[in-house]
């Protein structure tokens, strides 16, 4: 698929935004100021961005516990996300959600999810809305390799096939499910298993934005032709632990180091678009520094953000009434 200069710059910027967001969180996390569980997406940027670059606010995605990348790629405001992760009253979810529950319905982002397998059934429901509208919009669920074994995910796949919904199931294989290898817990080949459900599977190299972007284009063509749902499977790695603080005893010491050198989605992108492509390194460097400054500023403003009070705790349980304090 041909992409314009603007497209390419935007994609790079999005990937850099995610990387910077996560690297910064990793550092900030040590200060102890960030509460709760934080699962970082760094290393998998090409997948979220390669997919979401095809989508508009009319399309929907559901995400996972490792959701920052999907949120940013789908258009959530990184500043409001940062405020949310810092638990601020002006965060994207008023500080009630936190890292694992970031959502922005207006952007078609139906939520990160603390429950593995929670998202796909919801995204199938959103696909029903897309079908009813008939405007070519689609619904995409993101999930890891571990999540592919959850009963809710299997049900969602079959349901989407039966109802011929415009739904794309994305599986990001980053090698691990918490402390256990994904290959241990997927009893068969995930591609064949998914195909067995009647879902054509488009495969991509999860380190390569262009590969993912192309696979998503193919997936969209399939879905928009009214042929029903399909899946997209991409391998990748996560640069950090399962959660911030994970000692990663299951991982060989230099596993990530090697991958950072040889399989970095940003380096790969950069090489590709500068060597053969239309951009020069300076343009990308400019994006890098702009994004770095922006994220720095997000963290600064998040740290200074207002803390939520009891009125935030009690609001929005219901649309029409509120619990008594």
């Amino acid at each position: 698929m041909q992409q314009s200069r603007t497209d390419i710059l935007r994609a790079y910027r999005q990937m850099r935004m995610i990387r910077e967001f996560e690297e910064k969180l990793h550092i900030e996390n040590r200060s102890g100021e960030i509460a709760g569980f934080t699962h970082l997406y760094a290393g998998q940027e090409a997948i979220a961005v390669g997919i979401c670059e095809h989508l508009t606010d009319r399309d929907y995605i559901s995400s996972t516990h490792r959701g920052h990348g999907h949120c940013i790629a789908k258009g959530c405001d990184p500043r409001l996300m940062m405020h949310e992760i810092y638990g601020r009253a002006d965060g994207l979810c008023k500080g009630r959600g936190g890292s694992m529950h970031i959502a922005d319905i207006d952007k078609g982002m139906l939520g990160a999810n603390g429950i593995v397998g929670g998202g796909p059934p919801i995204a199938v429901g959103a696909a029903l809305t897309c079908l009813a509208r008939g405007d070519g919009s689609v619904s995409v669920s993101f999930g890891g390799g571990g999540s592919s074994n959850q009963g809710t995910v299997f049900e969602a796949m079959n349901m989407a096939v039966v109802l011929k919904l415009p739904k794309i199931f994305v599986f990001e294989l980053n090698g691990y499910s918490e402390h256990t290898g994904e290959t241990y817990m997927i009893g068969s080949d995930i591609v064949q298993r998914t195909e067995g459900f009647g879902l054509p599977v488009f495969q991509a190299d999860g380190f390569d934005y262009f590969s993912v972007h192309q696979a998503m284009a193919d997936a969209l063509e399939h879905v928009r032709a009214g042929k029903g749902p399909c899946a997209l499977v991409a391998e990748a790695t996560r640069y950090f632990g399962h959660f911030e603080g994970d000692p990663q005893n299951y991982r060989a010491k230099d596993e990530v180091k090697g991958l950072r050198e040889t399989r970095d989605a940003l380096l790969h992108f950069r090489a590709r678009v500068t060597e053969a492509g239309p951009l020069d390194a300076a343009e990308l460097d400019a994006i890098d520094s702009e994004v770095a400054a922006f994220i720095e500023d997000c963290v600064t403003s998040a740290k200074a953000g207002p803390t939520p009070g009891p009125e935030v705790m009690l609001a929005d349980v219901y649309a029409d009434y509120q619990d008594k304090p």
Partner: protein, 337 residues
């Protein structure tokens, strides 16, 4: 007003709301039925209890969606559709089946709005049949409402008569919050006056079914007619009571209960559920906490025992609180031991 069964009243509410609002859709197992069957009929079931009968004929299979046996995906379907602008009415057939869809109900549906900062709304109605009375055994006879009323973010309603069945289902569909709509399976054929034409009954607020002087009896669902039977017996003995039909178990209409209690001083709660952490417990607790100064004697809870629902006719009859047990409890509350 026309005399109708609960079943027909519910069906009428669905027709009413689906005609009025194209975003209302229905989904579940056999909500139409007949797909892939040899008779060619697509209205072969209309729901296992006939509540969705005829909908497919008028609204078609894009709005009346038969699903595989995949309850998590059924609720997921409703959840995702609701977040994106539809008003889905999902059917779970038997309330007992919440176990295979619980996460989508209590961790997803109930929490979207709160977790997502108040931006999202999820106007899902989950319809389920519940309760004992058909000897359907331990996995097809539970009441479930206590379990779900405990969950912040869900509204839970339990209509006890055809008028409420119609009016509350319509209200549930129009409500912007998730509503668990529980239909007592032993009441589907119960008849009563139902307002004709468009009819909405409020979701919140209990109903003072009858007034009396000696006690406050709080109850719901099938226990309402049973308590009315007890009332007939006790009237002969000169005992009368306020009979409150809760209608909604979340929220609970505390005001009405406490007001009545302030007049009668005695409280009996009748609940078909198992006793522990039940709606009966909740109401007894409300009385002990907020109505203590009104209480002139111990609260009495009339519930099923702490056992699964047994199968045999005789056992199920013993299990379910009946008019005699209810009358005995009220008598005891009023006259002491």
């Amino acid at each position: 007003m026309t005399v109708k069964s609960v079943r027909d009243a519910l069906n009428e509410a669905l027709f009413q709301e689906m005609r009025r609002d194209p975003s209302v859709i229905v989904m579940g197992e056999d909500v139409s039925g007949g797909a892939g069957g040899s008779s060619g009929s697509r209205d072969a079931a209309g729901g296992i209890f006939g509540v969705t009968k005829g909908l497919i004929t008028e609204f078609g299979e894009h709005r009346v969606i038969d699903t595989p046996i995949s309850e998590s995906a059924i609720i997921g379907l409703a959840n995702g559709a609701a977040l994106t602008g539809m008003r889905p009415v999902a059917e779970l057939m038997f309330a007992d089946f919440v176990g295979v869809a619980m996460d989508q109900i209590y961790n997803q549906l109930a929490k979207f709005r709160y977790m997502f900062g108040g931006k999202a709304k999820a106007p899902v109605v989950v319809r389920m049949s519940m309760g004992a009375g058909m000897n359907a055994g331990a996995q097809h006879s539970q009441t479930i409402y206590s379990m779900l009323s405990a969950v912040p973010g869900l509204k839970v309603v339990v209509p006890s008569n055809p008028a409420d069945a119609k009016g509350m289902l319509a209200a549930a569909i129009r409500d912007d919050d998730p509503v668990i709509f529980l239909e007592h399976k032993a009441l589907y054929s119960t008849k009563g006056e139902v307002p004709d034409g468009e009819y909405i009954a409020p979701l919140h607020g209990a109903n003072l079914v009858q007034s009396g002087k000696d006690a406050t009896v709080v109850t719901l669902g099938r226990m309402v007619p049973f308590s009315q039977k007890a009332s007939a017996k006790l009237a002969e003995e000169g005992i009368t009571f306020d009979l409150i039909d809760l209608r909604s178990t979340s929220p609970i209409d505390e005001e009405l209960i406490l007001e009545s209690l302030s007049l009668t001083g005695r409280l009996v709660v009748v609940d078909e559920s198992n006793p522990m952490c039940s709606i009966a417990s909740e109401i007894a607790a409300i009385a002990a906490e907020k109505g203590f100064s009104s209480l002139r004697g111990p609260v009495i809870r009339v519930t099923a025992p702490h056992t699964p629902v047994p199968f045999a006719r005789e056992l199920e009859r013993m299990y379910v609180p009946g008019p005699d047990r209810i009358a005995a409890a009220i008598r005891k509350a009023v006259k002491g031991e």
